[in-house]
């Protein structure tokens, strides 16, 4: 399988007939959407699958940004996503520290409790959470999303962080203990800083799921001013159902932050998603 690549006919054949055509089916829809977003309705309806717009209709983007409140929703998504990640890192790292470093009676049970969480479909909690937040007067606030996203990211995060912390050699702490460091110092000055790579993985996984999440946001949030980007994009699409170009523009804008991040961090994201899948 992995003998060194040889530039032969086989390679050309496979590249031209298998790998590139598939790559085109995977990426062409996105390119098509980009062209679509720069056309007016006439150009879209008159068809032609490779046709370019006669000139780029940037006004589609103006409509999307102004009438679609793009910047407001982008801002909301940023706040909700980053707050969820902060809360998640705080709780997940502290639990993982205890599970990886301390011996006590129920530690294995608690670890299993978190593991089991990975198999629970989040949808099943939607109605009870809705009722809980309503009673706590948290429905239709950013908190309802921040709490839900961070809590449901706990299982995979605790698993990844606990495994990572277990692999940190204890000699590092022993020196610090001799110097009189307590459990809190050990955590803040040794375990937490060393665990940064695992924290990065955990944050990437949480970022992708919170940033893209739609249904919980659409269920818990009703104020226009609090909508997150996926929810905002969906509302825009339903509202401007016949302004095809503007819909295309909004979808491009909605995908843009994630695509930009992917361009710069694709290695990290793939590694993180891979680890998420392996552990799941």
């Amino acid at each position: 399988m992995h003998s060194r690549p040889q530039p032969n006919l086989g390679k050309w054949f496979i590249t031209i007939f298998i790998i590139f055509p598939l790559l085109i089916t995977q990426l062409y829809p996105l390119l098509w959407l980009l062209l679509y977003s720069l056309k007016n309705n006439d150009e879209i309806l008159s068809g032609g699958i490779f046709s370019l717009p006669s000139y780029p209709r940037w006004e589609n983007y103006v409509i999307a940004i102004q009438n679609g409140h793009y910047l407001q929703y982008l801002f909301n998504s940023l706040i909700v996503t980053f707050s969820s990640i902060m809360i998640l890192l705080f709780f997940a790292s502290s639990v993982s520290y205890v599970l990886s470093r301390f011996r006590f009676r129920f530690s294995q049970h608690i670890f299993l409790l978190f593991l089991a969480g990975m198999m629970l479909p989040m949808q099943s909690a939607l109605l009870p959470l809705n009722l809980m937040f309503k009673n706590l007067h948290l429905l239709d606030t950013r908190w309802s999303l921040i709490f839900t996203y961070s809590a449901f990211a706990m299982p995979i995060s605790v698993l990844i962080l606990t495994n990572f912390m277990r692999s940190i050699p204890r000699e590092l702490e022993e020196a610090a203990i001799i110097d009189g460091a307590g459990p809190i110092r050990l955590f803040t000055s040794i375990i937490f800083p060393i665990s940064r790579p695992a924290m990065m993985t955990v944050s990437i996984l949480a970022f992708i799921s919170a940033w893209n999440e739609y249904i919980i946001a659409a269920t818990f949030i009703s104020s226009k001013s609090l909508k997150t980007l996926p929810f905002g994009a969906y509302s825009f699409v339903s509202q401007y159902a016949v302004n095809y170009g503007a819909i295309g523009a909004y979808l491009i804008l909605a995908a843009l932050p994630m695509i930009l991040i992917y361009v710069f961090l694709s290695e990290w994201i793939m590694r993180g998603m891979l680890e998420g899948a392996v552990k799941g």
């Binding site: 399988m1 992995h2 003998s3 060194r4 690549p5 086989g10 496979i14 790998i19 598939l22 089916t25 995977q26 990426l27 829809p29 996105l30 098509w32 959407l33 068809g47 699958i49 709780f91 502290s94 639990v95 520290y97 205890v98 470093r101 301390f102 011996r103 969480g117 198999m119 629970l120 479909p121 949808q123 099943s124 909690a125 939607l126 109605l127 959470l129 839900t148 809590a151 449901f152 299982p155 459990p183 955590f187 893209n212 999440e213 739609y214 269920t219 996926p230 994009a233 969906y234 819909i247 979808l251 909605a254 995908a255 994630m258 290695e267 994201i269 998603m273 891979l274 899948a277 799941g280």
Partner: protein
């Protein structure tokens, strides 16, 4: 180290309480609410297992949704050999295969709203400029053109395809990583011993890649349960309930029809279904790994 009360109350207790209230408690409440006849506003009437009885023995639509979920999982799993083949070709012929894999992976990280709406536009009827129908016309297959998502006979298949499209890259990444993990020396030794490509595949790559097949399979299964969002942002379960799966049915029963008890019964079924399926998949792979003598 020994767990002191201080460490317990600073590090463990708050996080544990948070997790129990936000994740475990709501799931438990689902099971409890399922025992009532309740529309969310009026008085809830305790009816024991009445909702479950209705769901399992008296609701043909529910079993339709279960069937669609299983089909969804089946299609997603059928994609894995394909992804494996693709990954094997990339690993064999490209020095910087990682970059090609990265391009395949891009759709995986897009939100269901973007992917769903993009494909909704692709599936639009000709009168609304749908790409798929335009291609069919170009190929002189006009008779096949249709409104893909409003035709109850094809809408579900159109949605299966979107999920396959979106997640192909995830499986390619997993299989590519698995293939790269196999030590080169094993294959070189086999080549020296005169093994052909098929034999190398059959006796080295395949068995050593089993843990990665397992990852892909579990992911395909979990992913098929999470098709929820894709369906909610495209068809919402319609037309005429033709694309309703368990989770959308649960959502529509709870939030549209306000059958809180009945919706909770579906939610509880979904929890048990997921736990059971994970258990079955793990058992199957434990025996496979034992047979080939590799630690998973």
């Amino acid at each position: 180290m020994k767990l002191t009360p201080k460490v317990f109350s600073v590090f463990l207790l708050p996080a544990l309480v948070y997790y129990l209230t936000m994740v475990i408690l709501p799931i438990g409440l689902s099971f409890y609410t399922a025992l009532f006849d309740w529309n969310g506003i009026g008085q809830a009437t305790f009816i024991g297992l009445g909702n479950f009885k209705e769901l399992l023995f008296n609701d043909p639509l529910f079993w339709q949704t279960v069937k669609r979920n299983l089909l969804f999982a089946l299609f997603s799993m059928a994609e894995i050999p394909f992804a494996f083949l693709l990954a094997a070709l990339i690993a064999r012929f490209f020095r910087r295969g990682q970059r090609i894999v990265a391009a395949y992976f891009l759709p995986v990280i897009l939100s269901a709203v973007v992917v769903g709406q993009l494909w909704q536009a692709i599936y639009h009827p000709l009168s609304r400029g749908g790409l798929l129908n335009q291609i069919l016309v170009l190929l002189h297959l006009d008779s096949l053109t249709r409104a893909w998502l409003s035709d109850p006979n094809v809408a579900m298949y159109a949605l299966y395809f979107v999920a396959l499209w979106q997640y192909l890259g995830y499986h390619v990444l997993i299989q590519y990583t698995g293939i790269q993990n196999i030590p080169h020396t094993l294959q070189e030794a086999a080549i020296i011993d005169g093994a052909n490509t098929w034999q190398i595949m059959r006796h080295i790559v395949f068995p050593l890649n089993i843990p990665f097949f397992k990852i892909s399979l579990i992911l395909a299964f979990i992913g098929s349960l999470q098709a929820f969002e894709l369906i909610m942002v495209t068809t919402g379960g319609g037309p005429a309930e033709a694309t309703e799966v368990m989770s959308t049915y649960m959502y529509n029963q709870s939030f549209l029809n306000l059958h809180y008890g009945y919706g909770s019964a579906i939610a509880s079924f979904l929890v048990m279904f997921s736990l059971l399926a994970t258990f079955v998949l793990n058992t199957v792979f434990a025996s496979l790994e034992k047979r080939y003598d590799i630690g998973g």
